[in-house]
């Protein structure tokens, strides 16, 4: 066995008002240890106020091959964007 511990993905909230952002991964025996390791590894200089850890094998992601069917539909729905609508320049605040 090469490694005894599973892989965890780490997300850090840099400060109040911001989202948690993915910063990397680490190995730990369980979630509690993963949190402690994440604190030691990714927040040595006040980089965060909150941490999430998630087992890497619990993450489900879209693949690069999904690009067309998965993300294409929004491309032909221009009417979802405000610039689609022509409004005269003389109309204020819109």
């Amino acid at each position: 066995m090469n490694h005894e511990w599973p892989l965890f993905e780490v997300f850090v909230r840099a400060k109040r008002g911001l989202n948690h952002v993915h910063v990397g991964s680490l190995r730990a025996a369980d979630h509690t240890m993963a949190l402690h390791h994440a604190r030691d590894l990714y927040t040595r200089r006040n980089e965060g106020v909150s941490i999430w850890v998630v087992r890497s094998d619990d993450v489900v992601s879209s693949g690069p091959d999904d690009k067309e069917p998965f993300f294409a539909p929004s491309g032909d729905k221009a009417y979802r964007h405000p610039t689609y609508y022509a409004i005269p320049d003389s109309v204020p605040h819109i």
């Binding site: 511990w5 892989l7 990397g24 025996a29 590894l41 200089r45 690069p64």
Partner: protein, 302 residues
């Protein structure tokens, strides 16, 4: 692979699940692993001085620095794992001598002045090498390098400050600093790798944008940066050929002993065997801790 070539051409990043040529994947794993190993082995030369630091302040600084090196190694193993590598397997390769690390860590740290000179010159050279890598075409590597570069700046400055303090001290302390500079200058120049004419992989790495400047360009930049710093400090760089070249707008300097670099890389440096022995010992000594933590986690989960 059209997507890959196109992404590189547009100077965009390659992300873990994107299609990539097998040779790119292998090269990236090797580059990131060697870099990670260098950070981990790099804890040893300075770690020797933690218990012998002259003041509590210097001890706290050195502890924080060595902890950073461990952190850098872990950021990089994390990046390597996004390419399908396994960090346990990479550690095995390091311990068995199948993967390399930077030649610089195979030199001994004889006095406390070495701690300062490593910060100033070795970390200075590392910064020269690493800043362009923040723009590596491989996304996770570039992002790890951004974190690392932010922290390296503290490493270099603490080293230079340490040396300034010693230079204000006694004659013996000033001699220690000069002696350390004499021993570390040439190995620091070797950190940039062999001369361009003798670096067969450079062209491919530049094309893939995993290397942004040639070895000789970076070496020149490092020499030009270091000369005024040496003057400020009051030390002499041990190279009689070192002088300003008005025409080129750069310093001319002597040729490092490339045979020495080859010897040290191939395992025959002063400290190669000791570094690997120590790393293997730490890995073996930690085995029961890793096993116990895993057993505890299993027990709690059931």
């Amino acid at each position: 692979m059209l997507d890959f070539e196109d992404t590189i051409a547009r100077d965009q990043r390659i992300e873990p699940r994107d299609p990539m040529p097998e040779a790119y994947r292998k090269t990236m794993i090797r580059q990131i692993a060697q870099h990670a190993h260098s950070e981990i082995i790099g804890m040893q030369p300075e770690g020797e001085w933690i218990t012998r630091a002259p003041t509590l302040r210097r001890k706290a600084i050195l502890l924080a620095k060595v902890q950073d090196e461990a952190g850098h190694g872990l950021y990089l193993y994390s990046a390597a794992e996004t390419l399908g590598a396994d960090r346990g397997d990479l550690t095995t390769r390091l311990i068995e001598g199948r993967q390399k690390y930077s030649s610089i860590f195979n030199y001994p740290t004889l006095t406390f002045a070495d701690v300062g000179v490593i910060g100033w010159l070795v970390d200075g050279a590392a910064i020269c090498n690493q800043v362009p890598l923040c723009r590596s075409s491989y996304g996770p590597y570039g992002r790890a390098m951004i974190r690392i570069c932010k922290e390296e700046s503290f490493h270099q400055r603490q080293g230079y400050e340490l040396l300034m303090t010693m230079m204000r001290g006694t004659d013996v302390q000033r001699e220690m600093v000069q002696d350390a500079v004499n021993r570390w200058w040439w190995p620091s120049l070797m950190m940039f790798g062999p001369p361009d004419g003798d670096s067969p992989n450079t062209a491919q790495s530049m094309a893939w944008k995993i290397k942004r400047h040639t070895n000789d360009e970076l070496r020149q930049r490092f020499v030009d940066m270091s000369v005024p710093q040496a003057v400020s400090l009051g030390v002499t760089l041990p190279d009689p050929a070192l002088r300003w070249n008005e025409e080129r707008g750069h310093h001319d300097f002597g040729t490092p002993d490339w045979d020495e670099l080859k010897r040290v890389i191939s395992g025959d440096g002063p400290m190669n065997a000791a570094r690997i022995t120590r790393r293997r010992q730490a890995h073996e000594d930690g085995a029961w801790v890793r096993a116990a933590a895993a057993a505890h986690a299993r027990k709690k989960a059931s």
